[in-house]
């Protein structure tokens, strides 16, 4: 199992860097283009969820990738203080719908501001 960690400012302009890193990692690990697209979308929506629902932005996002035999597990943690009390329904409905539709086994931990998901890799040689 391999493990990659990215700690990056909680700012919207860094989401494109997160997407590029994710697509580089998933292409060396045998994902096809459709799956890579899904991974980029899921990860971006998780970050948007935190940007819209956690008030503070001083501390960064911590993103961990766990590369396993035939799946990729990704954990996104918003390192800012305080737990999420109200989810902004208006802004987050679409986020959640997209994450739910594209991710396998996703787990939302509002207390620790951590969202985890998996994506199976079908194409691996």
């Amino acid at each position: 199992m391999e493990n990659i960690k990215l700690v990056i400012p909680k700012k919207s302009e860094y989401l494109s860097t997160i997407r590029l890193t994710t697509s580089a990692l998933s292409s060396i690990n045998g994902y096809n283009l459709d799956d890579i697209d899904d991974l980029k979308v899921i990860l971006s929506e998780i970050c948007i969820f935190f940007i819209n629902n956690v008030k503070k932005n001083e501390k960064p996002f911590e993103i961990e990738y766990f590369i396993e035999e035939n799946k990729l597990k990704i954990e996104v943690c918003d390192l800012n203080d305080g737990e999420i009390t109200d989810v902004s329904k208006e802004k987050s409905e679409m986020c959640i719908l997209i994450i739910e539709s594209l991710a396998d086994n996703y787990i939302v931990d509002l207390k620790n501001k951590k969202i985890c998901f998996e994506k199976k890799c079908i194409d691996i040689e």
């Binding site: 989401l15 494109s16 997407r19 979308v41 929506e45 948007i48 679409m94 986020c95 594209l102």
Partner: protein
């Protein structure tokens, strides 16, 4: 890659065609929204979003499209979206926006 916005009237003069080139995401969608709303207010003409060079959209961008739809309706105008790439259409499908927008 970020966002570039081009626009021109279609040859039949029936539509203002707006072409987002690149990514309409949380960092670029406010700019996209402002530009399109400004164009609608100014031109008062039906809108056609040509998405053939739209490489990425996120929920923020989809939200902005809904805001644009409301603005268009407010003026009694219409909006269509053309040439969506399959990976982007997928998001319209997931969120049900494929039923809200006229997609060609």
């Amino acid at each position: 890659m970020s966002l570039d916005i081009k626009y021109s009237k279609t040859s039949d003069n029936n539509y203002l065609e707006i072409k987002p080139i690149g990514e309409v995401d949380i960092s670029t969608s406010p700019e996209f929204k402002n530009k399109v709303i400004e164009l609608i207010e100014k031109e008062k003409i039906d809108i056609s979003i040509n998405a053939d060079e739209l490489e990425y959209i996120d929920s923020t961008g989809l939200g902005v499209l809904m805001g644009i739809l409301m603005k268009v309706k407010e003026h009694g105008l219409s909006i269509q979206i053309i040439n969506l790439k399959p990976n982007i259409y997928k998001l319209f499908d997931i969120t049900g926006l494929n039923k809200v927008f006229n997609i060609k």
